[in-house]
Symmetry: C3
């Protein structure tokens, strides 16, 4: 579609993203999410057409990574840079951050000339999202008290509950693969647990997927070995979403059963909810012996389910033996990145480039979140950007 | 005041900051300091009015943090970004820096396309400021020898002697709170030691405060438990400044006495001068046992003065029971960030937002230092910036 | 020479650098190398004349440093910034990078909106250059599969074989010192091993020097104590180059003999080839005891050759007692940065400023590599830049 046509599509939507933080997809309306996808798509097309969508002459985008990150770190940096912001990383080891009360202080101290704050905090169940909101409240106060001349927007770069920049990149990929969001209706998507030799992987990806994909009329199946539950409230929400959208949501405990006739499969490891709860408690108590024991126990338990691998054989069970394979990357590929893992090497290889495309939406999803937070009428601003003819590569 | 009126005020001043490093406030004239405050105020107003004061199309601002930092790190990054410079952190762990002679080499190696270097070096008494000057001499040589096409300006982001970006942000806050620098005349300001459960805090904040505030006709009182002296030369300088400005400067050893009728109180912990001297020696000798012993001894000594806490009761003794409370942050707040600390939680809470405002001047103070170093006639350049109508947010 | 005249000189050359990675100087034609020097010189003059050669409105330059770096880090950052790109460092400790297969994945994940990737990987013999090419192949695939809308260029910031940004900066320095590349014909240049108290220094500098300088008709002599060989293929290449260019290339084992009548001396320590081979093997096997033993053995062996120091006495043997002393810095200066080292303090001091000038070309060499990769006709683009009158310092 042409850029101007996409802008017209965007004009039809009524998003309420202006000056709002992006914490959880399920706090956003369908129009909000569709607007993010449209803005992301337009920004992507613009950049590929050498049109610079820069809207800032200066300004900072602060990133706070409380866990490791490659993809999201570079996506955030790329998004900020595309819009004209410089990234300043808040490295807690190099800062004077202590604990408790000072979150509200630090939030203001890093925000005097800041436009956005991106936060990854996915280690502790019950903590990450709470932390982001604490930062948000502090910024609200700072803004109200005129400490901050403008209130930076917060973008959730993965928490204990959701990973919205990932799930929306995934949705953008699905939209592109199937042609439209409409075309997703009735499609069977399987979010399946898969074996990994590591432990303690966040729940936010599977939770984000089931909460988001159930909103578009898909038949979503969540499959995992008994005991590997997700946060109950989010599972419940997926059910409600499915009912509302005319899709379905079921939970099952056999990978073989689940992948049968699937259009889309998303095999990915995660830690069981109750393990993550124990882990959070032990981490709070700094009980390193307890943590070690828990890890051993969890790895032993995982090892019982090495059979939860997405194999060529299982692929044969899917729709046309060719369900779209998805992953947030990096995947644990058997014989490649580990001995035994989430997916057989040949199967991964078949869809590898597609997973790269999937990941490629993330910078634009983040840029779109920023853009939609910044402008009440993103379509109008994008039209002006289109008209002003500023090039990204100036001499081309 | 309107921006153009402030520019007119600035025009009246005769600063000599052009192409000069900013090491210590007491090397600068009153007009220098007033010019910094004016430029900072103008830049702040411009940004809030969506006028971009960017003066560089490219260029680097290098930061060297030899101690932890949040506020100053982000202030420096914000200032550089506002003027159009990219920040490049000189992380000594990731560099090939060794010791001794190579300061002069490294200074040049990081400066080929660099416009400013900001340095925090506050750990060793007798070292930090010396190090900055060593960097300065190396840059002078590099510039003279045409190694560098232009000579980067140095900004002291805290040394063993002074913390000028902090004390000038504090002064900007006072000016704003009391209406003008004139209005500060005759006001009683108490720079008081306060108890903290940590040890080894730099002397640069209290030293910076007494050396700066005595220049504006205030009655400055420095209060601390016997033994917690500051660098004698700087204390002497505070006395001389007070005499010259028509204010006063006294030292006392009771917090109760000191805060009586105070207009402004600044209760903040620091390590005693003689402890810092010993510490520097032990650090040089890498005597970790000696350092441990010194820490124990110092903490024990500190503990004798837990009563040096700024409490509600003491606040009652101040002018109108409401002296302006100041702090460079983070404060050690009793029951919040530590068990027993510098200030009672309720007292801190009452002035908390004001301390955030106080901190909010720092990015602009740093930007003003850069600006005044760069332009012989800052008022004229600011006028051109005002006229050129470049927006900070381009699409607003 | 005037900028426009230099652009005319550049027009005469037929470089084939467009959209090509820069891995090794010996993969590049003479015109390629001359074009890099010309573009670098023009960019330097432009910046010094306050002309901004910025060609990007946004975009990332990613750096991957798998070894420590000061000079090259800042050079890369400066070059990227000069052209309008923001630097994003790929810190492998903060990323999810694991081993093996994922290089091809990571290469794409960091490249969605990236224009250049600079890589330093000089620790393992037989690995560094290979790694860069692996990244390159991954980007080729990503580009072909439209994962990447444009294919980032790779710049070798030092590998196990070559250090092209260094050797070309060295060549720029020589060109400037002797007036032209033509003037280098018949000059005697000695690349000599020198003693250092450290061990394991990469071979890439001496290899880069002998492979490059033999192409310009110089008489290059490589001198080292028996056993301190370089990679045989590169030594062979130096011989072939010399024959082709009408110069000469010999290997000798006495510093005294080598420096006799030399026009240029480059005394610099490196580890012997066979030690580096063993080291690579031990590192792969994570044999820390073996590594310790190897280090001890290597240091003991080094110590036999403390006499390989460039002294005033040896300087007396050179042409006019004043051969140009070169070093990539930091040098091990006897009595300054170490007890006994590569060069006597007085000798180093005499040429110290010249080594700074030498280093000062590096940011422009890197920028030129980017520029020549980006534009098929760099002369034409430089002419447009010259005409458009964009200032680097906007208000000057």
């Amino acid at each position: 579609m042409k850029i101007l046509d996409r802008i017209k599509t965007l004009e039809q939507l009524k998003p309420a993203l202006y000056q709002k933080d992006f914490f959880l997809t399920w706090e956003k309306s369908d129009d909000d999410l569709k607007a993010i996808l449209e803005v992301a798509g337009i920004l992507k097309q613009m950049r590929e057409a050498n049109i610079s969508p820069r809207v800032y002459d200066s300004g900072l985008a602060v990133s706070i990574f409380r866990d490791k990150s490659t993809r999201t770190r570079f996506s955030f940096a790329s998004a900020a840079n595309l819009l004209g912001l410089a990234v300043q990383d808040m490295d807690e080891e190099k800062s004077q951050i202590s604990h408790g009360e000072t979150v509200r202080e630090t939030a203001n101290m890093i925000s005097f000339l800041t436009d956005f704050i991106g936060i990854r905090d996915d280690m502790f169940l019950g903590e990450g999202n709470k932390y982001m909101r604490k930062v948000g409240s502090a910024l609200d106060e700072g803004s109200k008290e005129k400490v901050l001349s403008s209130r930076p927007g917060i973008i959730n770069l993965q928490c204990d509950m959701d990973h919205p920049t990932q799930s929306l990149a995934d949705l953008a990929h699905l939209k592109n693969q199937f042609g439209s969001l409409e075309a997703l209706k009735g499609k069977k998507m399987v979010m399946s647990w898969a074996y990994s030799p590591s432990y303690g992987k966040p729940l936010s990806v599977p939770q984000g997927i089931i909460a988001l994909m159930t909103r578009f009329g898909m038949n979503v199946e969540l499959a995992y070995p008994e005991g590997y539950d997700l946060i109950p409230e989010i599972v419940k929400l997926a059910g409600t979403n499915a009912t509302r959208s005319g899709g379905s949501f079921i939970i099952s405990h056999s990978m073989d059963e689940a992948v049968k006739d699937a259009d889309i499969v998303y095999p990915k490891s995660w830690a069981p909810f109750h393990i993550m709860q124990k882990r959070t408690e032990l981490l709070k108590n700094k009980d390193s012996r307890g943590l070690n024991e828990l890890e051993q126990q969890a790895l032993l338990n995982n090892a019982k389910f090495k059979d939860w691998e997405y194999t060529a054989e299982r692929m044969q069970l899917t729709k046309n033996q060719d369900a779209l394979y998805m992953h947030c990357l990096p995947a644990d590929i058997s014989g490649v990145s580990c001995k035994e893992g989430e997916v057989e090497a040949d199967v991964f290889e078949k869809y590898r480039i597609q997973t790269y495309h999937e990941a490629g939406y993330k910078p634009y999803i983040i840029a779109a979140m920023m853009f939609a937070n910044k402008y009440e009428n993103p379509a109008a601003v994008l039209q002006n950007i289109f008209k002003r003819k500023l090039k990204r590569e100036l001499c081309q």
